[in-house]
Structures are given as C-alpha cells and as structure tokens.
C-alpha cells in the first residue's frame, strides 16, 4: 500500500507547514500584545484626567448641557461597533458583532431606530454581506489605532448627536468593543457614551466636609462645551486601544490552539504512516517468503 503511505506523508507535511505559519502568527501577536498594552497604559493618565475633570464639572455645577441631559423621547440611537481588520482571532469579531446585535435588538424593542458606525474591516464585511446600511466606516488602523481616528469618530458622532432628531440626528450613542481583561479573557462590552452617565471616578464627598468650590474658566457652560468632545474622544480612543490589545491576545490564543492542533494531527498521522509502512514491509516479507516457499516447493518435485 505505498499509495496510502504517500497520502499520510503529504498530510503530515501540510500540517507541518501550517503549523509553521500559525506558530509565526502566534509569536507576532505575542510581541504585539505587549506594545498594545503599553499604549493602553500610556493613555490611561489622560483618560483619568479627563474623566475626573468631567465628573468635577458635572458634580460641582448645576449646569444643564445638551450632552448631559437625557432626551425626552429618544427615537434614534447610534452604535459604534469596534472590530478588527483581520480575522484569525477566534471569536473576537463575532463576539463584538453578536453583542452589537443584542444591543440593537434591545434598542429597537425600546422603539428606537438604530444606525451604525463601523470600525474595522470585519464589521464592514459583516454589514455588506447582509446588505445592511451603516453611516460611516473606519478601517485600516485597528491594529495600532491613532488619536486622529478616535478624534474623527468622536467628531462624527458628537455632530450627529447635536443635530435635531427630525433632521437625522441621534439621541443616544453607544459603543461596543472588546475589553481587555487579561491575556486569557477579553469580554465584549457595550457602553453608552451619550447622554453621559458620569459616574466613574466621582469621589463621594466626605460627610461634614464642604464640597470644593470650583472656579471655571471662562464659565462652566463653556468648559463643558470644550470638555465633552474631549471626553468622548478619550473614551473612544480607550475603546480602540483596548480592542487592539484584545485582538492581539485573541489572535495569540487562537494561533496557539491552531499550532497545538497541528501538533496533534502530525502525531496522529505519523502513527498511521508508521503503521502503513510496517504493514507494507510485512506484506513484502510475506510475499518474498511465500514466493521462496513456492520456488523451493517446485525444486524438490
């Protein structure tokens, strides 16, 4: 059965080459996670500063602002879906997309029309394939998102938000992305960006202690005007960075299990190939012995 042996050997070779590729991708992803994590860490002080400042204006002043007040009858909501440009990352993209579908369903049930903004080629492909509409897409730099991209997205959504609803504006803005919990866990998360729910980082004033009296330059309304787009931008940037880090972690894990599976396949096929070779040898021996016996038999008679 040399044909079977050849087939096994071909499979082993193919598994080996695939393993080389997945191993390389695993290593690349592993080296990129570190960088992506550093970027998340580097952007944290800014995000923290922005959040603290926004909380301060929102807490210590009673200013009514378009961006913080809840609309009375929300009829349209926007979702920003953050995915990656490339696949091969396990359930990374489908998790985010599934979460956004859930959120869309929820919003529709509340009687809101849903419009989408997409980040990453995978989300765009998903929508195109289903012939669904979306407003804008950002692709190409999901691996190392830049501040400029975050700024563009923030500008686009804030602009849509301040537009009156009957002119195509939206009343709510949500973002769905993969949060980087650890190297092993990345959970898809949804977050309402607007109207703001500033709850994080607000320190409850200690009882008996007077609230610090904030001075605003020029005044609290204008400070909020300037602050909120910055806040939104920083939240979006944070989401993009976390999504990038998550993507690399997911790729690394997916590629690791692919390499492991390739190893398993190679082992199995090697066993089968050895078996086939042994069989072949056994058969050849028995053929020779049988032939020799037959020849010996003819000579004696």
């Amino acid at each position: 059965m040399p044909a079977q042996l050849r087939a096994y050997r071909a499979r082993i070779r193919s598994a080996q080459t695939t393993k080389k590729i997945t191993r390389a991708m695993e290593l690349i992803a592993a080296s990129r996670i570190a960088k992506a994590q550093q970027r998340v860490a580097a952007s944290l002080p800014y995000a923290r500063a922005v959040t603290r400042a926004v909380s301060a204006v929102a807490t210590y002043s009673n200013v009514q602002h378009v961006l913080t007040t809840e609309r009375e009858n929300p009829t349209r909501a926007a979702i920003v879906v953050v995915t990656s440009d490339r696949g091969l990352a396990g359930a990374f993209n489908s998790n985010a997309l599934k979460k956004s579908e859930e959120l869309g369903e929820l919003l529709r049930r509340e009687g809101k029309e849903v419009v989408s903004y997409l980040v990453g080629r995978k989300a765009v492909g998903y929508y195109r394939f289903r012939r669904r509409d979306f407003i804008r897409e950002w692709v190409g730099d999901t691996d190392t998102p830049s501040v400029e991209t975050a700024r563009e997205i923030a500008e686009a959504v804030v602009e849509k938000f301040v537009q009156p609803t009957d002119e195509g504006g939206v009343d709510e803005i949500h973002i769905v992305y993969n949060r980087f919990v650890s190297m092993l866990t990345q959970t898809p998360e949804m977050l309402r960006l607007l109207p703001l729910e500033v709850v994080e980082g607000v320190e409850e004033p200690e009882p008996g202690k007077a609230l610090p009296l904030y001075e605003f330059e020029p005044d609290s309304g204008e400070v909020l005007d300037a602050m909120l787009p910055i806040y939104i931008e920083s939240r979006i940037y944070q989401a993009l960075l976390e999504s990038a880090a998550s993507k690399h972690a997911a790729t690394q894990r997916a590629m690791k299990s692919a390499s492991d599976n390739a190893d398993k396949l190679i082992r199995e096929y090697t066993r089968l190939a050895n078996n086939a070779r042994q069989q072949e040898i056994t058969q050849q021996i028995s053929e020779i012995v049988g032939g020799a016996d037959a020849l010996a038999g003819t000579r004696t008679t």
């Binding site: 002080p45 922005v50 001075e215 931008e233």
Partner: protein
Amino acid sequence: MADLTVTVVSADEQVWSGQANMVVARTAVGEIGLLAGHQPLLGVLAAGEVRITASDGGRIVVNAEDGFVSMENDTVTIAARSASLVR
C-alpha cells in the same frame, strides 16, 4: 512654601510630572498663574505654552493644544490632545 504636584498628559502619553512651585497656563480668557493653595479650578486651555517652575528651580515649557487645566488640592493636571515638551 508648599509644592504643587503637576502632571502634564497628552492623549497618548504622560509628558511630564513632578513637583513645582508655579504653573503658568494660557486659558481661553488669558494667562493664569497657579500657586499652591489656589482654589479648585477647571479651565479650557488655549493653544500656547504652559510654563512650569519646578521645585528644583528648573523651568519646563510645554506646548499644549486643545485641552484643559485642572487644579484641586494642590494637584495640577494639564491634559491636552497634543502636548510636547519644549525644554
């Protein structure tokens, strides 16, 4: 005199942090100087220089744009979308 704890951050990194005697920043309505003990403040930055006099006597100049300055409990935070150390 008490010192200020100053942090200067831009969107993607921490530009400078340390102890300082005085911070001068340019806000939308004019320059403002901050010393220890100043009341809590939140101001919108106008494009321009932020000058910091460090506790060790060094002078730090940062170009900041598009951000804000906040002061609370002798902690000054300057957050700007783009900020770079001039010297």
